[in-house]
Symmetry: C2
Subunit: 338 residues, 2 copies
Amino acid sequence: MGERERDILRDVRARAGRRAARALRVGIGDDAAVLAVRRGEELVVTTDFSLEDVHFRRAWHAPEAVGHKCLARGLSDIAAMGARPVAAFLSLAVPREFTRGTRGARSWTDRFYDGLLALASRWDVPLAGGDLAQAPGGTDARVAADIVVVGAVQRGRALLRSGARAGDLLYVTGTLGGAAAELRALMRSNERTPAQPPARVRGITTATAEHPHFFPEPRISIGRALVRRGLATAAIDISDGLSMDLLHLCEESGLSAELDAALLPLGSGATLEDALHGGDDYELLFTADKDARVSRALGGVPVRRIGRMLRRKSGAPQMMLVEDGQRRELKAEGWQHF
Amino acid sequence: MGERERDILRDVRARAGRRAARALRVGIGDDAAVLAVRRGEELVVTTDFSLEDVHFRRAWHAPEAVGHKCLARGLSDIAAMGARPVAAFLSLAVPREFTRGTRGARSWTDRFYDGLLALASRWDVPLAGGDLAQAPGGTDARVAADIVVVGAVQRGRALLRSGARAGDLLYVTGTLGGAAAELRALMRSNERTPAQPPARVRGITTATAEHPHFFPEPRISIGRALVRRGLATAAIDISDGLSMDLLHLCEESGLSAELDAALLPLGSGATLEDALHGGDDYELLFTADKDARVSRALGGVPVRRIGRMLRRKSGAPQMMLVEDGQRRELKAEGWQHF
């Protein structure tokens, strides 16, 4: 680690420490962090890579948005388990020039931490450790960020993908396809090549609900409410797209499923295809007994019934889509992040 | 994630599951892993990047050695806290061709997991989650691996860097400088450029104590013994070199220190400079009260007294080296991994 990296980490350590939650006994600065959880709790641990040119492009995504989304992905996994976040850890490798500001402007790395720490602060999650390294590859070096989030949940109460039963109803939080629609709109807004950003992108550096692709909101309160009320039998977050994540839920629960196209809550500008296959929505998809009383909103976020779980007839899970009275097979489609 | 990546992860999931420790309630396959710790325990969490061309070279280091060392670095941090490892998480990005075997040979990625899982199995640490992605950058893509290890230790008993007191004696496990000496010997063994490996390197694919640079051994049993016997006041692992890590210990404890050159246990082929500044040794450096009865060996590994902690006179920590009756200042020197 060079002097510049050391300075940045020292600054981050100070900022991360200000809000250090009580659970954090020892944070950045020792061989490892020391965390306390409450009696009767289990740990939940998730890791997510954010790779340049896979999950974001430096020309398209402001560093604040990359930092925000990096942590949001981890927090979303914690939300999908119904857990509370306890601490986050970030390993970050950046090209050499990304640690240097220009003409008084903050460096890419500083702005990345700005976005990440703003979200961390909002959910009271201390950044408890990690690493800052120079990415190898000289002028071809690319950013690689690995976020780890540790959470805690009452023993035996974590929301798993494997808990759904045939006959359970399927619910989704918020809206679907908004992130994909936003990205498409931006891509159409000019004729530039993907390596060059549409002019509108440059202003998107602070979190607002209008920019679901750039600043997704993790559904932590909803996940915790589901656990507290004992409502959900299974849950997953929709990061790969509804069709792909529903397939994961079906696989782990040993079931099939049916979606009702008319019930899908479309995000701003989203088509049915966006809602079915667009990724990066970070909403929660969960199942509940058909007799469970699921509120129409949790923590101010709408909750919509969109289908149901079915007994599996053959070896592989089958997904069906009901649209205009017709029933057709729904294939899971992989999502390219951008 | 492509089909090939999915196949590899499916295989790893099966292998990682075989030894899944009881602490692991839910492993690979859900949004996050669920871990249980025992009553009265705290959590210890560490993350370490292993980057190609920073921590290893593909031409020099067999994939098994890269996988072993990747996990060994995390386990060594857990050892330095005096904790027991509970679970590991790996985020791995590799160039596309690294997931493909050739002519019946296992792929780089498969062999990386071989090395990592062999060490994990030896310490009974389940691989509980993570990610496998294609590294961006086309033909310039480089390997990036981030290892997370979660451990547990009795509440309030973790060995911190900050616990040393003036007058405490300094101890080190095993020998010092052996990793640096091994690397130097290999570099001298022929005249090739660093991008090409000496012929001898190619055979180093399995863990033996003769190859400290390629297959370092984490000192987990020793860390746990230090906690159990209440012997150490502070501890750190020597990954950056003795001088640099002693500086960290001094900084966090607010002290200065003095080393006795004649007491340093030199590894095979190591010079005094190797022992002072060579990195990658992964031994434990710890402090204990001058009246504490520290065994000359712990878990079969020699433990040597090498110096003592001193009250700090000015703002910055000072390190002294006593050699041939002379006392001179010792500067911390950064270590290039290879």
